[in-house]
């Protein structure tokens, strides 16, 4: 790697190449993925540098792993399979443009939620964000990995809220997607009124979709535009606690079809307590006081007649709640609506909220439809039982996406160092069992890749062809997803 | 040995169509039939009927239908054949447009076709075609084949080695005999062609059919006589209606008889 270091330094400058083992350590292991051997870290400052890095990697057979967020790393997508050079994109952190009129921001990978939220807020807009992202999480990376946002009505399609991108493929070629593709540079497009608002294309392919969810195996993203929405002038949060998930599902279906409500999520008592607890040590106690399941939803008014909007939504939602046999409340034990509102609009406190109660956690998440959730919950319960894992250590988070057509279903296993082995076993067997029960691991991190791809050999064959096309030398995050064989 | 009869049939626009079906293009010297189908010339149908009657009353009679022209309708031939023919032979080609050939050219073509049809004992034709009404082809064909011809048959029969024909006269008929092979042109008095059943028409698709082009015949096309149309016009039809008056119906009747006599109608 010594030779590599010189060549890398020649591209990014020696000050932007690091061999610091402490720094590199965060890419050795994350969640269920371990075995990373990051050799070096480079911090490019421009697209041109990234293209040079990719060209070098092709020439030298280097494995490049792109990474934008600050630790802790939890999914393992940026933990290399073996040796690698980490390409730390966090230094490319410009908020290039914020377009209030067209509700769009152009951001580089290093822009974090912590950074972006206040900027966007100042413009009277809001960021469409997942639930309690890590403070140092790259907004771009979050969207690139199709992390679910908490406002399903704004989740029109799986690409949302990511719009246009600039890509560097594994070939070293530069490409722009959506309306950023051209004709014209960004500046020329801006001058012509363009806002890089259309995520599709250019022409007859949609590379943004191909690159999304690819865990850095096909292209690196230099920047993206991000869909923003109007900051409500009135925003109220409600809780609908109930013992039965079926009733809350019914309520959810009724509400989401006519696009009522803004934020909409369903949390188990454990998960709600973890999300809301000001003092992590009180999670157990709070969870015990909470109903087994709670819908959390928001209602907003915007510029015009906000009170009237909130009033009709509250009224219509109340009617749906009544029909479903549930009732809204303005607080749950330990958390007021106001506090929940802040939680939904902020990144996670430090330490990361899931790590706070027990010190460690593992997530199992996948996509399904809301009506199938109870089945998966029972599979998870059965698996926990089989492994003697205390059921109260499993949190469940149900996030409707695609305007309610799908849900992101997430089980979090909370454990401390003593339980690590047991949690690991449960993780493995529950993942397997859930997959067999029909879980769609659309973001197949780590061991889920084998589970997911075993189900769809035709997709694998096609994806490998895509890989051959976009990363013919296999220099991008080698060994991930279904690209485990040597790419020819 | 059996008896081989050839029936020559020309396809013409349905002569029963109303006058408006014949669109006369004076400039292009063309008559186009509109909204009427082609049919077998009715006198040729009579000829076929005459052949059928012979076939019914004699053993081992074989009928071959020959038609020649441009764009011969398969359906029309099918229907004719379905009546009881044993084979058909079509000579088709764009240059065989009947309106462009003179009668003798037609006769030459038919003679060539008859030669291709194999042996024959009797050739039956209609007395004339319903479109041109020339009545020449049959006699021309007999001349070319070198066989006797009898015209205007109202009954045709075969006896021994000869054909016996009742020939229409203005006030009756005469019986004429000729040795075979011979050609007879048939008149309407023979009677209408029988109707085949629908099933028979469909089944007729199985009856052997030979389709030839001009090139298949041993003829130099350039020697075929052509008709040149000099002028074309619809005859002006004048209708004058005369009301026959009379004080009483009887008187009106009398006046009508007088008027008809005056016009030499009766």
């Amino acid at each position: 790697m010594a030779m590599d270091k010189d060549k890398l330094s020649a591209i990014v400058g020696s000050e932007n190449v690091s061999e610091d083992p402490d720094l590199l350590a965060t890419w050795r292991q994350a969640g269920p993925v371990s075995g990373g051997e990051p050799q070096l870290l480079v911090r490019p400052r421009s697209t041109a540098e990234v293209r040079e890095l990719v060209k070098l990697a092709r020439a030298e057979g280097i494995n490049l792993v792109f990474s934008s967020s600050a630790p802790p790393r939890v999914r393992g997508d940026s933990v290399p399979a073996g040796e690698a050079v980490i390409v730390d994109m966090s230094g490319m952190d410009e908020l290039v443009r914020l377009d209030r009129r067209n509700k769009v921001a152009l951001i580089e990978p290093g822009v974090t939620f912590e950074r972006l939220i206040p900027e966007v807020d100042k413009a009277g807009l809001k960021v469409l964000m997942p639930l309690l992202p890590k403070r140092g999480k790259s907004v771009l990376a979050s969207a690139l990995e199709r992390e679910p946002i908490t406002i399903p009505k704004y989740h029109w399609d799986m690409t949302d809220p990511m719009l246009c991108t600039e890509l560097v493929f594994g070939t070293g070629d530069l490409f722009r997607t959506g309306s950023a593709a051209g004709p014209g540079s960004l500046e020329q497009q801006w001058a012509a009124g363009g806002a890089q608002k259309n995520p599709m294309g250019p022409a007859q392919t949609d590379f943004v979709r191909v690159v999304q969810g690819s865990q850095g195996t096909l292209a690196a993203v230099m920047w993206c535009t991000l869909k923003l929405e109007v900051k409500p002038s009135i925003h109220r949060i409600y809780f609908v606690p109930d013992a039965r998930l079926s009733r809350l599902s019914d309520f959810t279906y009724r509400a989401l079809r006519p696009k009522l409500g803004d934020e909409w999520l369903i949390l188990s008592a454990r998960q709600l307590a973890t999300v809301t607890a000001e003092d992590p040590s009180r999670v157990d106690e709070l969870a015990a006081q909470m109903a087994p399941w709670t819908v959390v939803y928001g209602v907003s008014g915007y510029e015009y007649l906000p009170e009237m909007r909130v009033a009709y939504q509250e009224k219509d939602l109340a009617a749906h709640a009544q029909a479903a046999g549930v009732m809204a409340a303005s607080e749950v034990p330990g958390c007021s609506a106001k506090r929940m509102e802040r939680i939904l609009a902020s990144p996670s406190p430090e330490p990361y909220y899931k790590a706070a109660p027990k010190g460690a956690f593992m997530d199992i998440f996948f996509l399904t439809t809301l009506d199938r959730v109870p089945h998966f919950v029972s599979v998870m319960e059965a698996e926990a039982g089989k492994h003697g894992y205390p059921p109260e250590r499993v949190g469940t988070y149900i996030q409707p996406i695609q305007q309610g057509r799908n849900v992101h279903l997430e089980f979090t296993l909370y454990y401390d160092s003593a339980d690590a082995a047991k949690a690991g076993e449960l993780f493995t067997s529950a993942s397997q069992a859930l997959s067999e029960a029909g879980a769609f691991f659309s973001r197949p991190y780590g061991p889920w890749a084998d589970l997911a791809y075993a189900r769809c050999p035709d997709t694998v064959a096609a994806l490998r062809k895509v890989k051959d096309m976009l990363d013919p030398d296999g220099v991008l995050n080698r060994g991930k997803l279904c690209f485990t064989r040597e790419v020819v | 040995m059996g008896l081989n009869i050839i029936v020559c049939a020309k396809q013409v626009p349905d002569p029963e169509g109303p006058p408006s079906s014949f669109e006369i293009n004076e400039a292009e010297l063309k008559v186009t039939a509109r909204g009427i189908p082609p049919v077998i010339n009715p006198f040729d149908e009579n000829a076929l009927e005459a052949a059928m009657r012979i076939k019914e009353s004699h053993e081992q009679v074989s009928i071959t239908l020959i038609s020649m022209g441009k764009g011969i309708s398969k359906a029309v031939i099918l229907k004719a054949v379905a009546v009881g023919a044993d084979a058909s032979l079509l000579v088709e080609g764009d240059s065989l447009d009947a309106s462009l050939l003179d009668s003798f050219a037609t006769a030459r073509l038919l003679a060539a076709a008859v030669a291709r049809a194999g042996g024959y004992d009797l050739v039956l034709c209609g007395r004339q075609a319903a479109d041109t009404n020339a009545g020449l082809v049959g006699l021309g064909l007999a001349q070319l084949l070198g066989i006797p011809a009898i015209t205007l048959a109202q009954k045709v029969d075969v006896a021994g080695d000869g054909v016996v024909v009742e020939r229409v006269l203005p006030d009756g008929y005469e019986v004429v005999e000729a040795p075979l092979p011979a050609l007879v042109t048939v008149s309407g008095e023979v009677g209408d062609l029988r109707y085949p059943s629908l099933q028979a028409i469909k089944a007729a698709k199985a009856i052997p059919q030979t389709v030839l082009g001009l090139a298949d015949l041993d003829l130099d096309p350039s020697t075929l006589g052509r008709v040149r149309t000099v002028a074309l016009a619809a005859p002006s039809r004048e209708r004058r209606c005369k009301m026959v008056e009379g004080e009483t119906p009887e008187e009106a009747g009398r006046n009508l008889v007088l008027a008809l006599r005056q016009d030499k109608v009766i």
């Binding site: - | 396809q11 169509g17 509109r34 909204g35 359906a75 229907k79 109707y195 629908l198």
Partner: protein, 426 residues
């Protein structure tokens, strides 16, 4: 007119496929969204209104030729007019039905004949009816009714029974009943008996226009001789031809032409026909194509650029007879009407028309069964219509498919309600 005269219509096709669907506002389900039996049965685009126009255009441009299989495509069509109506919702410059008719005439002129049709026309020429029944027996149905014979007397109203009614024994009671309803109302009614002949409309539809014209002249002379001021016919096919085709051919009958349902409805309104008896029945009504969309009166031809044609001269189907049969039906005490999805201008054809019944009976029955299923889907106890061809093919189709749905002629129910004792059959 000749095929070439319709080049502009044919090349006007944008291929939007509206001709294959019920006018879009009226599509109410997946199942009954389509309007054209031919394309539904045979699927190649050539079997649609658009496809046939393209064939015509293709032939004229020397791209393809007319042959037996193309002729079959042209004729595997009921001439129901649904494509034309659907097209005309959008277009002013295409007369689809006329193009289809022109294509058929072109086939006839070129000798591309469908043998079944050829046989039918031969039978028509012999016996003056499209069924090939003996001419002498045409008037037998009227025995004992005491109707005037227009061959020797004049009358106020000439009743033209039509071929199907005159000979179909299954429809005889219906036919007699219609006449009795009129006689009871005091109508001065005459018939031509054995001298009645086909109106020639079917011949026209099959492309045998010359034949059609001969029959038109024939009927014209009979109407004149009868002195009738009104002609009433129970044959929906005949109605359309007398109403549209005759004047278009320049054969003015010089009298009012009414379908029997119109006339009966008028008598009922005038109080001359009393519908007293209750006929408790939930029915659905099938619009015969030729009474409905094809039953528009002829107004005038438009020889100029059709893009500029006034809306009033566009044959859109809207002026067909839709309301009178429904009014008559619902004025019967006890009858309740439930509508099918495809009605009025966008009604689905019974399958019998255009020479299909004669040449491809399987296609006719398939088409009829489609309709029966639609009728059944309404929950109706019976299907009512007002055309002998529709009644015939529906009953045959029901018998063939085993679909249990009584099929009535509208007059059957009127008779029941009016207390006419001629037994109505279903």
């Amino acid at each position: 007119m000749a095929l070439a005269d319709y080049k502009r219509d044919m090349e006007g096709c944008s291929r939007c496929s509206s001709c294959k669907w019920v006018p879009f506002n009226q599509i109410k389900s997946w199942r009954f969204a389509k309007n054209c039996p031919s394309i539904c049965r045979y699927n190649f685009h050539a079997y649609s209104g658009s496809g046939r126009m393209i064939i015509g255009n293709s032939i004229l441009e020397g791209r393809s030729e007319l042959n037996d299989s193309v002729a079959e495509i042209i004729f595997r069509c009921q001439m129901c007019g649904a494509c034309d109506t659907a097209c005309k919702v959008y277009r002013d410059d295409i007369d689809l039905t006329e193009v289809l008719l022109e294509l058929r005439a072109y086939c006839i002129e070129q000798g591309e004949l469908i043998v079944e049709h050829m046989a039918m026309i031969d039978a028509l020429k012999r016996e003056d009816n499209v069924l090939g029944e003996p001419k002498a027996r045409r008037g037998e149905w009227a025995q004992g009714l005491g109707l005037k014979d227009i061959n020797s007397e004049t009358c106020e109203v000439l009743f033209h029974a039509g071929c199907r009614y005159s000979y179909d024994p299954d429809l005889r009671d219906t036919l007699r009943g219609q006449v009795r309803l009129m006689l009871q109302a005091g109508v001065d009614l005459g018939i031509a008996g054995a001298e009645e002949s086909c109106c020639g409309g079917r011949a026209y539809e099959l492309g045998y226009r010359g034949e059609a014209e001969n029959y038109a002249d024939d009927l014209l002379s009979r109407v004149k001789a009868s002195g009738a001021r009104t002609l009433v016919t129970p044959c929906a096919d005949g109605y359309a031809h007398l109403k549209f085709l005759y004047p278009r051919m320049g054969k003015e009958l010089g009298c009012e032409v009414l379908h029997v349902t119109q006339y009966l409805q008028r008598l009922a309104q005038q109080g001359k026909l009393r519908l007293r008896e209750s006929v408790p029945l939930l029915v659905t009504y099938h619009d015969p194509c030729h009474l409905g969309r094809m039953g528009e009166p002829f107004l005038a031809d438009w020889r100029e650029d059709k893009l500029q044609r006034p809306m009033s001269l566009k044959r859109s189907g809207r002026k067909g007879i839709f309301d009178e049969p429904r009014d008559l039906l619902t004025s019967i005490p006890g009858v309740e009407l439930t509508e099918m999805e495809r009605i009025r201008e966008y009604s689905w054809c019974c399958g019998a028309g255009g020479g299909v019944l004669e040449a491809w009976p399987d296609f006719a029955l398939w088409t009829a069964n489609e309709r029966l299923e639609e009728a059944k889907a309404t929950g109706a106890e019976a299907l009512v219509t007002a055309c002998p061809w529709c009644v015939r093919v529906f009953r045959d189709a029901a018998a063939e498919s085993g679909l249990e749905l009584p099929v009535y002629d509208l007059a059957d129910l009127v008779m029941l309600s009016a207390g006419i004792t001629e037994t109505a059959r279903a």
